[in-house]
Symmetry: D2
Subunit: 388 residues, 4 copies
């Protein structure tokens, strides 16, 4: 399973092609829209999120509610494009100087300047239109297909907020997927801990008032994975490596950790590892899950738990100093509108990004031409490892 | 540039093939041996490291001290194999029951059990021989080629220990690559801070006495990277994603972070981003480097700074509970010999793993058939972005 | 450079995403439409080609007539979809039995039966909608981007018909690209030889009358390639291997050959190889081009010449025997409408498929972030090898 | 499944790493040596083939006669390297001018000149040592693993000579795999037709006498493939495309065709396609196999038949004109020793190259962690499609 995305933030549309999905996976427009709409939620989002509803159009690979086995094409139209035709149109323009909204002032914390240097863009709109976090909608669309596939295999995945601006949610180690999913959806900051959530909301409002922005930590929890997904035999097949790579490629993410993560540097080995137990009913299992369900590049059968950290959005009302690339004069990067905190949405994005990597690993390991056969193979595998 | 490795811990040899290296890169056996020998150093390693010296044999792709452009093959022989022929030989055996050193007891924290379930190994030696951290020697060999390539482009990279068992080294933000490299090599725990280093040594000795193991945080620092390496245009081309993926695939690593990393969740946006400055001599630059030299999936021209966390080695004298897969009886996983702390070596491994990803990204971006042309192209690019 | 395509023959649209194109390549809708319209021409096409004009909509990666460096998304809408919503819509249907146009009768020579067995499709419309040669329009769109890139590097490529139904065009070894392109476009069967062309037209008409179909051989000619594109160092980097792989993946193609191709089995070595000459003005050159401009997996600097063979279209008025997969009863595969010969269009498709592989190989070898820099690098390389 | 090879013709060794092989495939040194020794046979080979016996050393991934699931490393040592240390050693030399056997005279038909231009080699030994057909021994080693895997799935593959220097073997359409394998091995030119074989031997002897070389056509025949291997859903997953790409990347191959191949350009559609039949015992089958067992990018269940053409070896006693790259003087490329015909060996090489692509396609489609499970899955699939 692989995918490509295309599209600029104010362009005509976002396009995603997902190749390698089995035939006969049930999949509807609603399945994907549900994910897209969740992405737009969250206390602290700017106005744009409220105005435009992202809706998918499935334009290939699905017929009568089932995948065909052929590549799936997903389009998210940009209704606002009609106001951007002059600025973003694909046709040549007579007078390049007359183009409006040229960006010669790179924003710190964005791809603007580095992208301009690399691709030779003097109008940095050419960078920011693609480097914008809007592209994550296309990744969520791809991930929604993966999430549906996993759900049909009884593998459920949810992302939520663990920390915003230093406010940490308490741990609920015993919460099931369902509890996490319900509580996450019920919270305006996608946080399982109502007390922390309230503080987070206040912190977001305060940041907005201050013209500042705040970041946070999000967690993705995956329930139902059998042991042995991934591999230890070659470095680029380890599941943790693949997940970390995908997560760190999400806009504004600066770190990833599995299970207790960086805490593993502070604890002795005897308190880090998950002892192995067995009983006739369940087969092998662990009493703890400090390693986040991953050991030796493979799943252990315990829930997979991975965190990512998102830096505060760099587009601040509070200006950051930068330099105009034409005049070389310093200026204060000020903006018109922005989100003050995108962490809740980031939880949703990371959920879908992780879903894609897990689904991909499963498809590599099991027969995947026809989805019902995959279902059966997973079922058989669960039994095989139970009695191993 | 791509590579494959092969070889079991007690097998005949480790083999690495690196494909895609330009012609006329100066490269000698010594260049690679230097890295391999550094990997074996470090207070807290077990006896094995002291007995066997890993030495490379270049068996393809290099002639008279220069790369040919053809694939480079690197072999690290295992002198001890003669004692393991019966156990690890490739030839069929008459009586599989008579094979010695069968492993039916999976060690928590290792790939043993998950690998057995996945590949159907009832003798888990078939897992541990490959999942062993010994394979990192093969990855270091590949990374040594990359490191040499980078050095010849005036891009220098060093890994060192930031934290062991909760003991944190102080920050030396102004240290150059050279200072970091010198101080790292001078320290038995590869730590820049001598006070912390002393405490770390003590902690390692104490852990050994306790029959326990300890982990830590390592940092890799890369100096000399021009801005614009990596890309924002597609998620799988972002340099941070690729580095995170490679680092998280190192044995026992449980997390990765760039620059201030998880601290970004606690600071307001105005204190996270690196403002952009310019002067005629240097072109664009940053006064701070909180984002670790990466912005929008690309380098910023500041040093690239990335940390990884290594969990304590799971092979402890202090036993962890597990279950024999044949008898299903619980047992205490006890071991004969082991390292109590492998963090210093992990710093070296991560250095080489990061070097490979960076070299790969550079080769994708610049002409790379002939190394001297690559050198010239990098030089020209540095000037172009200086005057951009 | 890589691409994915999606879309069913009677679905909403064909979608192509091309990733890895440099910034600042001039590219317009017209550039791509020109290729798409050429694909629809050719004596012997059925009615469908005449009714629907394929036109591209560039929906990502291009702004104001230039590529941005970001992925390029290309859409070819299917205006006829409104008549196919019930049959091909993505939404679940209440009564799957009521769906019209179910295909339970596999056509010999098509993917129908094999695809049904693999993906478990009992309605083989699920196969044929994707396996249809209509998908080549999406590949032509991707190839048109490559063709434009090559043209701007003074590398020109054209495909034409060499043989239809055993009627062979004479060789015009001295024709330039321009002559080949002009004569090909002027011919209703895309054949350089007017006498042969006339016979081919007659053969096509006769086949139509007979209710039969005919195939042929097409040739692609590439002028302006410098020597040394491709590589000998690893098998999967050889340019001939990559071109052969891409050509053999075109619908209905059953063979590929370079230069004299299969004739090389009949001639002594002294009459097969192209002797090497040199003069001050041109540097190294060849007096003959029997090997089709490829030697050791790389270009020689002579025109690249590659042929492909297309089998006759299997959808015949003259019935072929097959078996209904529901009733297991034999039936005669009869059809309502069809092309009797698609060879001229196949020449155009192959031209674009080869263009993509060549552009890809060039982008791997030269700096490719910014197109003007690529142009300069190619210019410099041409001079370097001239004076080598 | 993927592989890399490394090694120069007169270097220390050839190295192959094959990654992605399931665990518990029976595999011995003999399995691979059998293939290597077959490669060295054949009337018309030069002396080198008779002196050195290529023997493999399995140095990773296999234990006690079974694969481990970890990467397999295969080494073919070059005993003659001791005589080549000065010329080919990896260590820097004091006086590069003093190096013996510098090659400044490119041989037409070889990679010498194009490789020199690309990689900047003024000593073209740096090209020819890697571009030499000796590398095919490393590919045969990789293919031998694939061939063993296929054999254990009752999929058998054999390559043989169809034509040498215009002498064509008659067709034996009804020969089984076993007959083809036996007759091929019994013939000194690996030809099924004893009359043609005799003429071929004479032609080879005559060519040798003439100081010339001759090429030919080889065919690979694969029996036992179930229908539906490969895919039509995306161009780069079509099995014919992959096989053609791999075959065209074999040294000296100039063309590939499937089934009747180029003949398809001369026959009407009604005589090209393979009608579909069915009976209760066999399920679907074809009465003819004109398309060579491939339709729509997938297997049909009939034997896969693919031909490749090898040009005459360009290293002739009969000189070809070329130019010294230092003096720019023309010279006659003369040689000391050579094969006059390598077609029989090419049949063996192609057999192994095709085996690898088929095994790879099967592993992508079926569960492949444990070989016994793959066996069972193939068995079940055969039954499923029989009763489809």
């Amino acid at each position: 399973m692989r995918y490509l995305t295309a599209g600029e933030s104010h362009g005509k549309q976002l396009t995603t092609i997902v190749e390698g999905v089995p035939s006969y996976l049930p999949l509807t427009t609603e399945d994907i829209n549900e994910s897209l709409l969740e992405r737009q939620k969250g206390h602290g989002r700017g106005k744009r999120m409220q105005i435009e509803k992202d809706l998918v159009d499935i334009v290939g690979g699905v017929r009568h509610g089932y995948t065909l086995g052929s590549p799936i094409a997903l389009v998210i139209h940009n209704d606002d494009f009609k106001h951007w035709i002059d600025v973003m149109g694909e046709d040549p323009v007579e007078d390049p100087q007359a183009v409006r909204r040229i960006v010669s002032r790179p924003r710190p914390g964005h791809a603007d300047l580095n992208g301009a240097l690399k691709y030779g863009h003097r109008d940095m709109r050419n960078v920011l239109e693609r480097s914008s976090a809007r592209e994550t909608a296309a990744r969520v669309a791809a991930g929604a297909v993966a999430k549906k596939l996993l759900a049909e295999l009884d593998i459920n995945i949810v992302g939520y907020t663990k920390e915003i601006a230093g406010i940490k949610a308490v741990e609920f180690p015993d919460y099931t997927y369902e509890e996490r999913d319900n509580k996450s959806k019920a919270s305006s900051v996608r946080c399982l801990d109502p007390q922390a959530a309230e503080q987070m909301v206040n912190a977001i409002d305060q940041a907005k008032k201050d013209g500042d922005s705040i970041g946070g930590v999000v967690e993705v929890f995956v329930e139902g994975l059998p042991a042995g997904i991934g591999s230890y035999v070659h470095y680029d097949r380890k599941l943790d490596g693949r997940i970390a790579g995908a997560v760190a490629s999400i806009n504004a993410f600066k770190g990833v950790e599995f299970g207790i993560g960086f805490e593993a540097a502070r604890l002795p080995g005897s308190q880090v590892h998950d002892e192995i137990a067995w009983d006739k009913e369940h087969g092998y299992y662990r009493k703890t899950n400090r390693l986040g369900g991953l050991e030796g590049g493979m799943t252990t059968g315990m829930p997979l738990v991975v965190k990512g950290v998102m830096k505060p959005i760099p587009t601040l009302y509070k200006p950051l100093q930068s330099v105009d690339i034409e005049t070389k004069e310093p200026f204060n990067a000020s903006i018109e509108r922005s989100d003050s905190c995108a962490v809740p949405a980031a939880a949703l994005v990371m959920e879908h990004v992780v879903a894609f990597e897990i689904a991909k690993a499963i498809l590599e390991q099991f027969p995947h031409d026809q989805f019902p056969k995959l279902q059966e193979a997973i079922k058989n595998y669960r039994e095989e490892i139970r009695v191993f």
